[in-house]
């Protein structure tokens, strides 16, 4: 997955792992089932002197073509459920202590970000507000408080493998820990009106000194 899209958060690898697990299992069964179908078609082709016959499928030796794969698929489901539940528990049910907290506000059709200023406290006078661009520090754990000003949106950062609905009237808390410095896409992943397609933003992941300089430069007044 890393070769398709970069991993830039502490949990991106875990999520990719679940997707790959599902992909491999489903892929195996897809190829196996298609192979058996075509083999059966070939095996049951018209032959001189052989009459076609009606098969009810009730006989034991025929039924096993259904029951065995069914049982095997259920076994595979157990692996998928265990893998997915572990990732869900680690990412969604755990909330590591935050080094910093940002507020992410969706509105038609842009993202507004509220960063803590020099005091590293949100909702104080030196907070930094930006439109379209979120600044964070690399290798630091962030809590985000996700809100919407109008309709449903979805805060999606593909390189983080982060995707969370924003619901009007609610403040949803989640977390992320960037692991790669750089500038990456933020998008809205929930149809939110005529401008949904242009509701993009950027996340700028900076090293400590660079981020501190940005905070110092901007924390005196809102942009």
């Amino acid at each position: 997955m890393e070769s398709l899209i970069q991993q830039a958060s502490s949990y991106a690898g875990s999520i990719d792992g679940v997707i790959l697990l599902v992909g491999w299992i489903v892929g195996f069964w897809f190829i196996a089932v298609e192979g058996i179908f075509f083999w059966l078609i070939w095996r049951g082709r018209a032959k001189p002197g052989v009459k076609s016959q009606y098969i009810t499928g009730k006989e034991k030796h025929l039924k096993r073509w259904i029951t065995w794969p069914h049982a095997l698929v259920l076994v595979c489901d157990v692996f998928i459920v265990i893998g997915a539940a572990k990732v869900w528990y680690d990412i969604k049910l755990q909330l590591p202590e935050a080094d910093s907290t940002v507020r992410v506000i969706g509105q038609q059709w842009a993202w507004v970000f509220q960063h803590p200023g020099m005091d590293n406290e949100l909702d104080t006078a030196d907070d930094i507000f930006t439109t379209d661009t979120l600044h964070v520090q690399n290798n630091r754990t962030y809590h985000y408080r996700l809100e919407s000003r109008d309709v449903l949106h979805d805060f999606s950062v593909p390189v983080f493998r982060l995707k969370q609905d924003a619901i009007p009237g609610r403040s949803i808390t989640g977390w992320f820990r960037p692991t790669v410095a750089g500038t990456f896409d933020v998008q809205c992943a929930e149809i939110c009106g005529i401008g949904h397609g242009v509701m993009g933003g950027r996340i700028v992941i900076e090293e400590a000194s660079e981020h501190a300089a940005w905070i110092a430069q901007n924390s005196t007044s809102a942009q």
């Binding site: 509105q107 038609q108 059709w109 842009a110 507004v112 970000f113 509220q114 507000f129 930006t130 439109t131 379209d132 000003r149 005529i194 401008g195 397609g197 242009v198 509701m199 809102a222 942009q223």
Partner: protein, 213 residues
């Protein structure tokens, strides 16, 4: 007998040339193109550009083409509508991004300018007589004696505009949500003027402008 059966190679070449021509040709510009693009604007600005107060979308029908073009460029560049608190402006900042093809911005501005000015009901109650003095003192310099606008100074016409929208823009200039970016030269001219008057004085001036409609 058709061309393709007589000479399939030539027919295939002709078809390929036709398809290539279709794919490469730029969309037609002008009023027709502007009308087509306007479908994107009408959900907020109304099918005839009459505006929708509920959405904070102003009447734009009949605004001069130069002004619509300037403001679309300002929105596109983030000179306007990029302030994090300007919920309504942000919407327009985003929508301006859809005008990506060359000539689209000019085409839709031309179409908007061609629409008949909307008949708007005032929603504010100001003292037009008191407002006349305010208008004569400051606004007239850029917006003209009949509030018809002055392109050379970047002053848009104020006649034919909703009173609630004029007041809101005045407040945005005053709060620094508009007119603070150095790329918006005319907006920066308006901002200091917006600090000269209270809302009450502005409502009066707007009431005076309404008498010029």
């Amino acid at each position: 007998m058709t061309l393709s059966t007589r000479n399939p190679g030539a027919a295939a070449l002709a078809l390929a040339a036709l398809l290539a021509g279709t794919a490469c040709s730029a969309p037609p510009q002008g009023l027709a193109r502007g009308e087509a693009i306007y479908d994107t604007c009408s959900p907020c600005h109304g099918s005839m550009g009459e505006g929708t107060q509920r959405l904070g979308a102003p009447a734009i029908a009949g605004l001069p083409q130069w002004y619509v073009e300037t403001q679309l460029r300002n929105f596109e560049a983030g000179y306007r509508g990029a302030h994090p608190m300007d919920t309504v402006g942000i919407r327009m900042h985003s929508m301006a991004q859809v005008l990506r093809q060359e000539g689209d911005l000019e085409s839709v501005a031309e179409y908007v300018a061609s629409l008949p000015r909307a008949d708007l009901e005032p929603v504010l109650a100001g003292d037009a007589q008191a407002g006349a003095a305010v208008y004569a003192e400051t606004c007239v310099a850029c917006h003209g004696p009949a509030a018809e606008g002055m392109e050379a100074l970047g002053g848009p016409p104020l006649v034919g505009q909703s009173d609630w929208y004029l007041l809101r823009q005045f407040q945005k200039f005053r709060m620094g949500w508009r007119g603070t970016n150095t790329g918006d030269m005319f907006g920066m001219t308006m901002r200091p003027n917006s600090m000269l008057y209270t809302d009450e004085a502005v409502v009066n001036a707007i009431a005076y402008v309404q008498t010029l409609n």
